[in-house]
């Protein structure tokens, strides 16, 4: 199989990831719940994981690295911490349902969309400049669109937020592991990310980097201040009620070590080269629309004239090529780009893909396009 759905989950992992996860299951217990060796071993592993993340994402203090179930979990904490009933949030036109659904669940919330044209960072920035006013409770923007790979101008948006005194939440779901994610440089209130995409960890892991005060989403035991009935006021305990996913954290640590050793810049360059190669080939195929721009990471979206995107996904799956078709849980992004009626077919790459796979998949897509009803 050729797997081009890494924007959803990277399937091929460094071998040490499943190895350490499996080892953790039978050798490590609950961190913070006992002074015995398996408990303290788990605590040590969790600390190494936080430290590794702190180094990778410029967090001064490992305590501010919170283990979550996924990026959605982190985004829910971040949004609930900053936007209350009747509050106002400004979001980009490329946000995922992981941002929009938690927002719309807040009673009386006002959501302003700073929409700019696809692959136009200046246009996106100008939209934020118009919408971000000091009365806004939070600005939320993904670093990279999960549909189009559009790299949004988060550096500039971060500066704007700082200048206007508005907390900034970054959804780094598609950039953690491939672009520089910089909590302190951005001065962000929160940065949320999954562990199972560009960090090559297991599903069920994510990180929330906290630059500001956070409110718990879950309440329960933390192994600290047990005599009190309110949640601890310090991180990470405040946001980590209940038993940790230690096996997941172990795999995530191994995944982040892999990313650090390989180099974020090198991984990005590799994926971008693969995406570029794919788009070069597909742009020459009559009937194929390629969504391409300068400010783009290592994923791309396409459409084939006369074929429903889901049919393309299905046909490719039958031929051993795994892609993602549809709205990618991001109807707003499709609405902004004008593809809400068609959806797109997304091809996304990882450090483990190679150019030969791109060429083979491009040939199959060319055949499909040739046979599509016009």
């Amino acid at each position: 199989m050729i797997y081009f759905d890494s924007a959803a989950t990277t399937l091929e992992k460094p071998p040490q990831v499943p190895r350490i996860s499996a080892w953790a299951m039978t050798h490590l217990a609950s961190p913070g719940r006992g002074g015995h060796a398996p408990g303290m071993g788990a605590a040590e592993l969790m600390y190494h994981m936080r430290e590794q993340a702190a180094r990778l994402f410029h967090v001064g203090d490992p305590e501010r690295v919170v283990l979550t179930c996924n990026a959605t979990h982190g985004l829910n904490i971040a949004i609930r911490s900053l936007v209350g009933p009747g509050g106002t949030a400004v979001i980009s036109g490329y946000e995922h349902n992981a941002v929009t659904r938690p927002l719309y669940a807040i009673p009386g919330v006002k959501v302003k969309v700073a929409a700019g044209a696809l692959f136009d960072p200046d246009g996106v920035y100008a939209a934020f400049e118009r919408e971000v006013t000091p009365d806004v409770d939070a600005v939320i923007c993904n670093h990279v669109s999960n549909v189009f790979g559009f790299i949004q101008p988060v550096d500039r948006i971060a500066k704007l937020c700082k200048k206007r005194g508005v907390p900034f939440i970054v959804d780094a779901s598609q950039s953690a592991g491939t672009l520089d994610v910089d909590l302190e440089g951005w001065g962000a209130a929160f940065v949320a990310m999954p562990g199972h995409k560009g960090l090559y960890g297991p599903q069920g892991t994510g990180l929330l980097l906290c630059g500001g005060e956070a409110q718990p989403l879950l309440y329960g035991g933390t192994g600290s201040l047990s005599a009190r009935q309110d949640m601890p006021d310090f991180l990470p305990d405040r946001l980590e009620a209940g038993t940790h996913n230690v096996c997941g954290a172990a795999g995530l640590l191994a995944g982040m070590r892999f990313v650090s050793q390989k180099g974020v810049g090198r991984i990005h360059a590799h994926e971008r080269a693969l995406a570029g190669r794919m788009m070069d080939r597909l742009e020459r195929v009559p009937g194929v629309t390629v969504f391409r721009g300068d400010s783009q990471s290592g994923l791309c979206s396409i459409l084939i004239d006369g074929m429903d995107c889901e049919d393309v996904g299905e046909e490719l799956a039958h031929r051993g090529i795994a892609v993602r078709a549809g709205l990618h849980c991001a109807p707003l992004a499709h609405q902004t780009a004008g593809t809400q009626d068609t959806g797109t077919v997304r091809l996304s790459f990882s450090a483990f893909n190679c150019s030969d796979q791109v060429d083979r998949a491009a040939a199959v897509i060319r055949t499909l396009a040739g046979t599509a009803e016009k």
Partner: protein, 84 residues
Amino acid sequence: MVYYLIICRSLTYAQRTAQVLERVGISGSVQRAPRIISKEGCGYCVRVAERRLTDALTVLRREGMAPKQVFLQTAEGEYSEVKP
């Protein structure tokens, strides 16, 4: 042996404290704080040797991690709070 227990607000903070000390060659082990001194329940501390306490406190203050509570643990297993 007499030890000092540097009380920490969380396990992660205790680990960070031990790491800061380790970097300057002060050995400190992370352990659960004895119930008798952890009034709010389930806490962690870093245990350092008696002769290293002054250096440890200097380093922690320099790092902005001055402890709020320190206890002396006697050879008999008794605890008494000392001014950090």
